[in-house]
Every structure is written in C-alpha cells, then in structure tokens.
Symmetry: C2
Subunit: 201 residues, 2 copies
C-alpha cells in the first residue's frame, strides 16, 4: 500500500485526484492539505511513502514545500503536479530532489503508474517537458534583474518598481534595459513575460 499525502489549494481538484488515486487497490491518500505549510506538517505527521504536491499553492508553493521536506530529511519522495510546464521550474525542482514532475495534461490513467515508479525508486519527468528543458536557454539574467522583472509583472510604472525595490529609478531602468537586451525584447513587460514562461521567475 503506497500511502500518499496530497496537497492542492483547489478543493475540487484535490478531492478529484484523491478519488482517482483511491480507486487503486495499492494506493491510499492518507491526508490532504490545501497549502504548502499544511502539506509539510501533514507529511511530517503521517510519514507517507510519497508526497504529491500541486506546484501553485498559496504560501509555500509545491517547490518550496518539497524543499522543506528535503531539509527535514524524512526521505519522502515528492511528485509535483503542474499546470504550466515551464522548463526553469523543472530544473529547479530536480535540483531540489523532486522525483516526479507531472503536467496536468498527463493522461489520468498514467498517474498511478507514475507514482508506483517513483515509489519504487524511479523518477518521472514528462518527455515533452524534459525535451523542452534540455533545449531551453540557460537563464542569462542576474538575480537583481529577475527580481525587478518579478515586480514589473504587475504592470506598474518604473517609478513604482523603484519604490518597491528601494532603488533609484535610473538603476531600475538600467537593470530592466539590460534584461531586455539579453532577452531580445522591446518592453519590460515582454521581458517579464518571457522570464515567466521560461520558469525563471
């Protein structure tokens, strides 16, 4: 019996996934969490064979929760389920020791098999994401550039970005301009969008 802690902030989806998994005779969802903090707490409580976390959750996202579990050294393999299969996120997940990375476009019939594999010591990365990640550009941006693009995502003026980052507006303009040049785009918004799509932010 593979005992699983499942985490997803969307109740309906989480319940449906639990229903799907509980159809399997060798798989049991022993606890469900609706955010990353609860996920880690329940995993520590239940010591499951496997943790299945949705990537996008409030507070600690799936990746941060996986990091916390790893830090706690419980040896619980983590499988991340994600709507947006962004290559940079996959890289970060694998670096974090995540054993499975499953886009929501994966056939439902395949999930149990993937979880069994991971439980048996294997890893799972969707072939398409793997290919995409292998050909993906390495992130050419510095930490500061990424941070400013994160803020720029909200659409505000350069001045408001500078206020939020506690920098001079000239400094922000320089950093964003540098990022735009590296990415070959024309506006900071395109740069932010690109960085998001690649999974860098």
């Amino acid at each position: 019996m593979i005992r699983i802690v499942l985490a997803d902030d969307e109740d309906l989806i989480r319940g449906a996934l639990a229903a799907l998994l509980n159809l399997e005779s060798d798989i049991e969802v022993v606890a469900q969490a609706d955010d990353g903090v609860a996920a880690v707490r329940l995993a520590q409580e239940h010591r499951p064979d496997l943790a299945v976390f949705d990537l996008e959750m409030p507070g600690w996202d799936g990746l941060a929760a996986a990091h916390q579990l790893r830090t706690a050294e419980l040896g619980i393999p983590v499988v991340l389920v994600t709507r947006h299969a962004r290559p940079g996120v996959l890289k970060r997940a694998l670096t974090e020791g995540v054993r499975g990375f499953v886009p929501k476009t994966t056939p439902a019939s395949k999930l149990a098999e993937i979880l069994r594999d991971v439980h048996a010591g294997g890893r799972y990365v969707d072939p398409e994401i793997a290919a995409s990640a292998l050909t993906a550009a390495n992130c050419p941006l510095t930490a500061r550039e990424l941070e400013l693009l994160r803020i720029a995502q909200h659409g505000g003026t350069i001045n408001s970005i500078a206020e939020q980052a506690h920098l001079a507006t000239g400094t922000v303009r320089n950093y964003l301009s540098s990022a735009m040049t590296k990415l070959g785009v024309q506006t900071r918004h395109e740069a932010a969008r690109r960085a998001w799509e690649e999974g860098w932010i």
Copy 2:
C-alpha cells in the same frame, strides 16, 4: 441516472473529475472532451442530462461551447468549472444561460450535489462569486477599448498593438489612455490586468 459530458483540456484533471463523479451511484460520465469543439460535438452525439465544462480550454472556451450548445437548442444545462472566479465572466455565463458556475475551490464533496440541483432545474452560483459579481463595477470600457487591452496583455509596444489592430498608433494611444482614465490606473499594462481580473477580457 444523470448522464454527463465532461470537458477539460487537462487530461489528469478531467480524468480525476470523472473518477470523482463516477463514484456517485446516480451520476455517469458518458463522454469526455479535451476542447470546446469536441465538447459540443459529444454533447450533440450523446444528448446528456448535463454538460460540465472547464472554462479555460483551447479553441472554444467553456463559455463559447455553452453558447454553441444554447444555439443548437438541445436544452442541455451547462455547468462551468473555473479556476479564476472573475465576476465579469460569471455575468457573461449567466447571460448565456449557464446553470452552474463552480470555482475549483469548491469542496469536492459538494460537486455531485450541485449537479443534482442543476439537473433538477435549479441553478448554482458560488455565494462568494455571487457577492463579488453583485458588487463588481460594471464594465465602463467600450468594445474597442477592451479589444485593444486584450492585445496589450502580451506586453508589446504601442506600435505593435496598432499593427495588430490595424489602427493608427495615435488612435491606439487615445483608446488606451481613455481606458486607463476610466480605470484609474497609470499604465496600459495595469489597465489590461484590471480588465482581466474583473473578467471583462
């Protein structure tokens, strides 16, 4: 037995929802579609008691598919399932005759009950979304303003927006400026974001 056609482009989620629903003794998922076009085709083929469509799908989204079903006059009630509960989308859905509007944060245990209600002639709107929609600003923007904000969402320059819309750049600047004034924001990106959040685009 309530016969359902289910549509969602994310295989895993769709399969999980089907598993959840098929646990109910009086509910049966008779067909599954992964986009709006297939959803409408399968609904016409199977003549289900109910259609359950995810809002965000490629090609026809859930709303457009509901519109197509309504146009076909098959009398199939539609329930939309959505990740982002945006008030403008709810309004449009209800105008389109959608009988149920279910955010993914809804407890899984509640879905079957909601579907039974709708099948019995009722309607379901999540109370929080209903409240949000009732207090939501009416869309103050013209069709043209909305269209330009849609294009502006991608982050491109004014010039590229003008090219895509087949308008002069001055015209685009005027429309976007007008939209920004109406929404009380400072950049076109903030305007686009706001319009999206309200469900206007």
